[in-house]
């Protein structure tokens, strides 16, 4: 019998083998646990990856249902990532200085290869992000996902919402065209609106928070180069960093607060599991096995078995990637259909009439038309405070994780929608048809109008309605549902009126075709 001679490989052969093996070794070095084919490697795939480890390694099947989250949080994140990538590309060509800014946008539009396309995607993704974040907030609200222990994450979410609007708004000025210039002028005037009150009290001279806010925003008395560099810095640096930081907290808190919200009886309502989705624990663990000594409370699986989970890799990641790609598809599709607007070069001497803020602020602008202070500061503050208080006022537990809190919720929401739409349309119709206090009693002091204007009346009606709901159903949840719904409806109505039915001098027109001079 011949034992083959073990020939020592020459250094050259070793080199060749190493070279051939390099790709495999690189892969092994990057993904330390090998292909995610077993439970174990699928788990390490998740927690061994810095980007994925915010996910849990296993995902409950309830969470993967499209109706649970509708992917809105991921869609918002996806839209943000798209704006991030396209935004960085745009920064290569954009010059943040008046006039040069406009020219550079023209260059991006006409000369930079795919520049117009990239800019369109950026613009559409920004709008998709605003819409998605509002819908995400509504979803969170209607499934009562803000309840204990997720109150704080609800607040973080509100912060993200505000930053999203801020990002969108600061981006609005950058093209330095008429649209941008006058929208920012309107925005800055909204910031200055506390003057309405200080003026009425005759104390602006020594106490002028409105003027200060405006100055802080613009860095000057006018919308000029100082404002542009401020908005640019906020847009490309400060707000994105803040957003990323808060997003990290937001995602992290999802897990720390017990994962995605589910109804208590979620397991029972899922159809029987398929082969591949076998449980890890066949019976409920009685105690937590992780960091028991230093973590307060219990981890989510304690006393909750046998659970109904599947490995996050690949089930959750397919879902997330699908939403990411769908969002991308929507943004790209819209970009091919419609160009981002670019009007004439900004000209402080020729005011746009009507000058309109970005669409998501047109509801505010509609109220600002009634009273600058209440519309621009007062009511938004009330709404923000109200939203922030909701998780601390609604301490019920029934219906958590259910759309509209289960049976009875949807009829209530429908009723609230009727009230929300009805009241806002009615009061707008009244104002448009008959005017308001100023038209009826020309001598009425401004403070009275600040206190009593269509915006505040509408807010009061909504508030009274939800108080009535709390008493009628003897439930804070009912009141919260109603309140959120009516405000959402009011926002929609005011935004639509501001967007489509307001013309020169903020007068009502059925169609832009009826505008004078056009």
């Amino acid at each position: 019998m011949n034992t083959p001679m073990i020939e020592p490989r020459s250094a050259l052969q070793v080199f060749r083998d190493n070279l051939l093996a390099a790709p495999r070794r690189l892969r092994d070095a990057m993904f330390r646990s090998g292909k995610p084919t077993t439970d174990r490697t699928r788990s390490t795939f998740v927690f061994g990856n810095v980007f994925l480890h915010l996910h849990s390694v296993r995902t409950h099947r309830w969470n993967l249902r499209w109706t649970t989250t509708m992917g809105l949080g991921i869609a918002t994140t996806a839209a943000f990532l798209i704006t991030l990538v396209t935004g960085v590309l745009l920064m290569f060509y954009y010059k943040p200085y008046p006039d040069a800014a406009y020219d550079s946008i023209k260059d991006i539009h006409f000369v930079v290869p795919t520049g117009r396309f990239i800019r369109n995607i950026h613009r559409w993704a920004a709008n998709v992000m605003v819409v998605a974040v509002i819908l995400h907030m509504a979803r969170t609200f209607y499934t009562a996902a803000y309840r204990r222990p997720r109150e704080f994450n609800w607040l973080i979410g509100m912060g993200l919402f505000v930053i999203t609007l801020g990002l969108s708004f600061t981006g609005y000025l950058l093209p330095w065209d008429q649209l941008a210039y006058w929208a920012i002028t309107i925005g800055a005037n909204i910031a200055q609106s506390p003057r309405e009150v200080t003026d009425a009290l005759n104390m602006t001279e020594w106490f002028d928070p409105g003027g200060f806010q405006r100055l802080l925003l613009l860095g000057s008395d006018i919308v000029g180069d100082e404002a542009l560099i401020r908005f640019y810095l906020l847009h490309v640096m400060i707000l994105p960093l803040a957003l990323v930081a808060l997003m990290a907290v937001h995602f992290w808190r999802i897990r720390k607060d017990g994962g995605m919200v589910r109804p208590a009886d979620a397991d029972g309502r899922l159809e029987s599991r398929k082969e591949e989705t076998y449980p890890v624990f066949t019976e409920a663990p009685k105690k937590t096995y992780q960091l028991a000594a230093i973590v307060k409370g219990k981890t989510s699986v304690v006393n909750r078995g046998p659970e109904n989970t599947v490995p996050s890799m690949p089930h959750l990641f397919y879902a997330e990637l699908a939403v990411l790609m769908l969002t991308t598809l929507i943004c790209i599709g819209l970009s091919l259909l419609s160009d981002a607007p670019l009007k004439e070069l900004a000209n402080p001497a020729v005011p746009e009439n009507p000058a309109k803020a970005p669409w998501y602020f047109l509801g505010l602008q509609e109220m600002v038309a009634f009273s600058a202070f209440m519309g621009g500061i007062g009511i938004p503050s009330i709404v923000i405070i109200g939203l922030g208080l909701i998780p601390f006022l609604d301490r019920e537990e029934q219906g958590t994780g259910e759309w509209f809190g289960g049976a009875g919720g949807w009829p209530l929401v429908k009723q609230a929608m009727v009230v929300g739409f009805g009241a806002s349309i009615l009061i707008e119709a009244l104002v448009i048809r008959f005017g308001w206090l100023r038209e009826w009693f020309p001598a009425v002091p401004q403070l009275v109008i600040t206190a009593i204007n269509p915006g505040t009346v509408l807010t009061l009606v909504y508030a009274l309605y939800s108080v009535w709901l709390v008493r009628r159903y003897n439930s804070t949840r009912a009141g919260a549902l109603g309140l959120f719904t009516v405000f959402l409806c009011g926002f929609v109505v005011l935004t639509i009126i501001g967007t489509y039915f307001r013309g020169p001098n903020w007068e009502f027109f059925w169609s832009p075709a009826d505008w004078p001079g056009h």
Partner: protein, 551 residues
């Protein structure tokens, strides 16, 4: 999970497909690429790339030459589509001045509609080709253009004296002799830019006297001094923009400056026109303008019927013909003066800025027709527009015989406060010597009517004011207003009039009237009233004089 997989698959495929479409648009959807691909230069196929003229001083990046390749710097002999033709020879180098500086449009754009500026939100669309000389107005003010009659005088002298036999102007004249040679004199089309030899006449005479043979021998003759002056004026306006010069002359013939300011000179009744050629079509109302929504159409329609375009416009219907409208449109389009970096300031602009040089020639005739003719008529006989009280006849002998030069000068200087006549001694008005020329021209216009002198002092009338009240109410108030505030006739309670006109002016005017106007002589009876006596006229004047001091 399957549903998610499918969603991922299909949306990824969709993204891929749309990116493919976008890439295709980028590569094959650009017109300038196909134009360049189809063009050939003397060296064969063109290098397909974005071409542009960049001039940071003028602030232009003109990509027009990406399609109009033949106009790109350094390109010549391009063949291909019509757009690739070379630029015709003009005073300025296109490689330096770019395209949009003169033609307007959006230089940064790379697509036809955007580049030509006929899109929403581009305030400076291209000037229509027939008005392209209006583009000169971006930098030039082009000085001292006479009125149409003055321009015509020079042109006709030029042709009558057969200068075209040897010289070429705007493509005419300068006969080429059979067998080569000819066109003895230089081309004078641009002679106004650099100026011409001041002693050209003497030089011509000298050449003529020394010449032994044709053409100098017999094709030149003596030219009168008046003709030489007319020729000089004409040649000064040959700057390579004859139609624009004609348009300016037209503007200087209609008295528009009586109400409108241009470059700081003119009246206040109408809007300042200094930059009217830059009006953003997006800000104009085209509801009642036929044709394309471009500024030239708006202007033309506005000249035809101001009120039909601008509600509440005070501008009278001038009754212009189409040629005049065309020229005025050209003129207004040329009012597009841009701030210029020093290196690009043309001489005419400097002399206007630094030395207050006028855009109109400052002889009495041109000043009168450029400023006064709008209201007082080109012949000075007054004008009547619908809805506006008639403007007085100031060139009739009845007026000129009693109005002294001082009176007319003061009237021009102080105006008639409260009436249309503004004061012309302000910054936006005329210099004293210019006013003097206008007054002299006015006498000439009125058939060289001189003031008939008399020996009375300025104020000698002493009538019965109480009597005058009744007489005024009965005879004068119908036209001049119950309080002399004016109506169909001029205002008589005007302080400037009362302080500058002497008694004789009133006595003669009331007594003899003004021929050619509604004012009849009151010493004669008319079918509706009796004649007034001299004493009664004096009473009226005494009464009128009370307004000079009374509020």
């Amino acid at each position: 999970m399957n549903k998610n997989k499918h969603l991922l698959l299909w949306s990824s495929l969709g993204v891929f497909l749309l990116l493919f479409v976008a890439a295709g648009q980028e590569e094959f959807g650009k017109e300038w690429r196909s134009i360049q691909k189809a063009s050939r230069s003397s060296e064969g196929a063109l290098d397909v790339r974005l071409r542009q003229i960049v001039n940071p001083t003028l602030g232009i990046s003109d990509r027009c030459v990406s399609c109009h390749v033949g106009m790109a710097p350094g390109e010549s002999g391009i063949t291909g589509a019509a757009v690739t033709a070379a630029h015709k020879n003009v005073v300025h180098q296109t490689a330096d001045y770019g395209c949009t500086t003169c033609h307007g449009g959006q230089g940064r754009a790379t697509e036809k509609a955007d580049a030509h500026g006929t899109v929403h939100f581009w305030p400076q669309p291209m000037l229509p080709m027939k008005y392209s000389q209006a583009g000169c107005g971006t930098c030039h003010s082009s000085l001292n253009v006479p009125n149409l009659a003055g321009l015509e005088k020079g042109r006709s002298a030029f042709e009558r004296l057969d200068c075209l036999a040897c010289h070429r102007v705007e493509g005419r004249g300068g006969t080429i002799r059979p067998g080569g040679g000819g066109m003895e004199g230089p081309d004078l089309s641009h002679v106004g830019v650099k100026g011409y030899v001041a002693n050209w006449y003497d030089a011509h005479v000298q050449r003529h006297e020394q010449a032994a043979e044709l053409p100098w021998k017999n094709s030149f003759g003596a030219i009168s001094e008046a003709d030489r002056a007319a020729l000089s004026d004409y040649l000064a306006t040959r700057v390579g923009a004859s139609k624009l010069i004609e348009a300016k002359a037209q503007f200087n013939s209609l008295g528009c400056l009586g109400c409108h300011k241009v470059s700081g000179v003119g009246g206040d009744a109408g809007p300042d026109l200094s930059r009217a050629g830059e009006k953003d079509p997006g800000q104009a109302n085209f509801t009642h303008v036929p044709g394309a929504p471009i500024l030239s159409n708006w202007l033309g329609e506005h000249f035809r019927s101001p009120l039909g375009i601008v509600p509440g416009s005070q501008m009278p219907m001038m009754g212009l013909n189409e040629k005049q409208i065309d020229l005025l449109t050209m003129y207004v389009l040329s009012l597009r003066r841009r701030e210029l970096p020093g290196a690009y300031l043309p001489k005419d602009r400097v002399s206007a800025l630094r030395f207050g040089a006028r855009e109109f020639a400052t002889d009495g005739a041109t000043i009168f027709s450029a400023i006064c003719a709008g209201c007082h008529g080109a012949d000075g006989k007054g004008a009547r527009y619908p809805g506006i009280p008639p403007f007085p006849n100031i060139a009739g002998p009845d007026f000129l015989q009693v109005a002294s030069d001082e009176f007319i000068t003061e009237t021009i200087k102080q105006g008639r406060p409260g009436r249309k006549m503004p004061s012309w001694s302000s910054e936006a008005g005329l210099k004293p010597e210019e006013i003097a020329r206008v007054v002299a021209y006015l006498r000439q216009l009125g058939g060289n009517t001189a003031l008939v002198t008399d020996t009375n002092p300025p104020r000698w009338v002493k009538g019965n004011a109480a009597e005058g009240v009744k007489l005024f109410a009965a005879n004068c108030s119908g036209c001049h207003g119950a309080k002399g505030e004016g109506g169909e006739g001029p205002a008589l309670n005007n302080k400037v009039l009362l302080s500058t006109a002497n008694d004789r002016f009133f006595v003669e005017t009331i007594g003899k009237g003004r021929r050619g106007t509604a004012m009849k002589g009151f010493l004669e009876p008319s079918p509706v009233r009796r004649a007034l006596t001299q004493a009664e006229i004096e009473s009226i004047i005494t009464f009128i004089r009370n307004w000079e001091t009374k509020k």
